[in-house]
Amino acid sequence: MGDEYPTLFRSEQMSLVQLIVPTEVAHDTIAELGELGNVQFKDLNPDVNPFQRSFVGEIRRIDEMARRVRFFASQIEKEKEPIPIRPLYDSAPLVTVGPRAAQTLDELDVKLAEHEERLTQMNDSYQLLSERLRELVEARHVLRETAQFFEQAAVRETEVRTSLDDSSAPLLQHDDREQQFGGGDLQFDLEFVAGTIDRARLSTFERVLWRVLRGNLYMNYIDIQEPFVDPATGAETRKNVFIIFAHGDILLSKIRKVAESMGATIYPIDVNPDKRADSMREVTGRLEDLQIVLYNTGANRRTELMTIGESLASWQDVVAKEKLIYETLNLLNYDVRRKTLIAEGWCPTRDISQIQLALRHATEESGTNVPPILHELRTNRTPPTFHRTNKFTEGFQTIMDAYGIATYQEVNPGLFAVITFPFLFAVMFGDIGHGFIIFTAAVVMILSERKLAKADLGEIFGTFFFGRYIILLMGLFSIYTGFLYNDIFSKSLHLFHSGWDVNNGTAVSNGHTYPFGIDPAWHGAENGLLFTNSYKMKMSIVLGVIHMTFAVCLQVPNHIRFKRFSDIYTNFIPQMIFLQSIFGYLVICIIYKWTVDWDKASTQPPSLLNMLISMVLSPGSVDPESQLYPGQSTVQVILLLLAAVCVPWLLITKPYLQWQEMKKIQGQGYIGLGADDVPRHTDDTTLEGEEEGNGRAVVEANDEEHEEHDFSEVVVHQVIHTIEFCLGCVSHTASYLRLWALSLAHAQLSEVLWDMTLSNVLGMPGLVGIVALVIVGVLWLVLTISILCVMEGLSAFLHALRLHWVEANSKHYEAGGYQFVPLSFARLNEKQ
């Protein structure tokens, strides 16, 4: 089977392989297989707790390293000015296989720990210094603002004293005495508390103080203009400086307590202005020093981060790879006696020789002489589905896989979607100009493929880039259908002789048919839409019925491959007859009606829609005046009877055959499967275990889902299948009319855009005309690309995809498989 090339028609043949790997080579073997990307490993220790697996210690160490690498990455990300990270393809590779592997990993561990310690230390000291800076800034504000208060109060104090001098004499004595206790002109006899508080809390603070002190205070406050930014969170807080004058120790201590509870910071301010000036100078000096230290710490941190940035990508890669390797190693079964690890996995049969080469390569690298052994196992389990795609077919396969992964070796609809999907898109999008635009966009993406593949494109553009080959084909087919619809930016091309001679607004047929596409005489005609609608609707039905017929036929290779020959005449043939007898007949009538020259015919051209409806509602009665062909009523009755027979045929035959088979099995004396197998199987495994040690392959043949031979389920399944198919035929055929609907919408949008923009501007004379043409032209181009290409393109894409998923796939696609997910380091990068 290895000399035949794999095709996309079916999924590849997979084999279950068993690898026996000596422990010394295990790590390197898995690394080599990971690079190759061809093996999907099975978990051979399914009932072992993740904390009890053999390589838990190594994984924990790697997780530590991964945490450190993530920490570095987040620190680098937080920097305001970006720090360059050397990309992976540019970094020197870290070799983690071979004899020096363990040493390399240990060195890496130590290095990462060192970097982390240095970085955290720098972060902490930066934080501390920032805190100190903030306090000093606040202190400076407090000093500055309170200086103002004192100056104001001093002025008022002198005023007060002068006024008191004129009052009654005995009181003066008290004043004199009190003056003696204070010293100097600007002495106060009120003490104060000064500090800063959050602006939000200020009013509450005032009110609380007022109540506590019963109004025996004088409070003044002023805003600090600049907000304080918290370095850790980046939140801004606005603060105010307050100063509270009160008399007496008890009051002052109460004020201090309230201030502390409200979260205010209190700063010691001296009454003496000279001392205040000294503190101011000291604070300013310390502030400057602190800023220098802060700047230096910041610069050091930045250099450290730059050094880290040089190697960060390769560290991330190594850590991720090693983690994957050890996780895979955990899936293997350890045979104590022979000191080997046993691995089981799926791989494509074609690639077995490649894998053996890789195994030999791994042994050479690690320097031992004992190669791992690979041999194939026979099994009943269903292998995973693997379609070998290249960069061209990848996109198409992905969009069909999104509906469901194909059952193992089922016919793959992705192969046909390569052409039918862009074609159905183009039927809905047909315009030469728009097709050309999206074709060019795809070509640009494809020509710069290599460069774009490495860059991080973001989600939206990345999705477009992933589907560049789909867009290329969509563009090509759209140009073709654009020629057929004769539509280029809502104008028509006049490439050949028209079939209509036009004089004075009336067109007369001249017996010539426009050979390629719709006649340009229809462009701008009043009844143009009448013709194109009829044409496009009929075309949609024709294309739809043919697409569905093709999809039904795809059942046959599946029935043959899976040896369900009876399904061919219980499912395929009645389905085909049902579909063709009604809708195939409709298609034939459509085409026949077109080939008849109704000017020369004896009857009037009948409405096909009425004909179909009356065929079903009143079979056998066809009015000779409006018949399509002689003998129509008989033919239609026969076809209707055929369709009617197919329904019970579909419904009954398959369950009946299954029932017969069940009877036969029961008649031969077997009990139903599944009852006896379970205890037997466990006996086998324990026996095997005693004989050969614990490290043997566990081929679980019993994990298979048993086929339900419950008869009622079969009947129900078939009923659902029949109803789905018969109703589906009608509704899906009508669903194909969306091909008409979207192409109509596209054509109309295109025409409206032209009429509203360029057609108004094309006739304008002179300089004004040129300027207007340029402006409106740019507007037209932007709207064409954004609305007609992107929006309509996405819409047509979606509807074409729906037609494939629902109308076509429901006729043949089982989609019951699971995806082949090999251990692959390339996939790691994709995930990141």
Partner: protein, 69 residues
């Protein structure tokens, strides 16, 4: 006189090109893909052209052009 016969001629042409494509594709990993694509493309493009052509061979109404400016 317009007739539907050209569709039959082009059908033969398409079958011819299809056979050439089927037998002319070199063996290789992409043989199935190329063969399928060629045949499907021929089928789709022929179908659509045929439908467009046939719809205009014996038209049931003629274009009524409004007053041209």
């Amino acid at each position: 006189m317009s007739s539907s016969l050209p569709t039959v001629y082009i059908l033969f042409l398409a079958i011819l090109v299809g056979s050439a494509g089927w037998f002319g594709t070199p063996k290789g990993p992409n043989q199935t893909l190329i063969r399928t694509s060629i045949l499907l493309t021929l089928a789709c493009t022929y179908l659509m052209w045929m439908v467009t052509y046939l719809a205009q061979v014996h038209p049931l109404e003629s274009p009524r052009l409004g007053v041209q400016e």
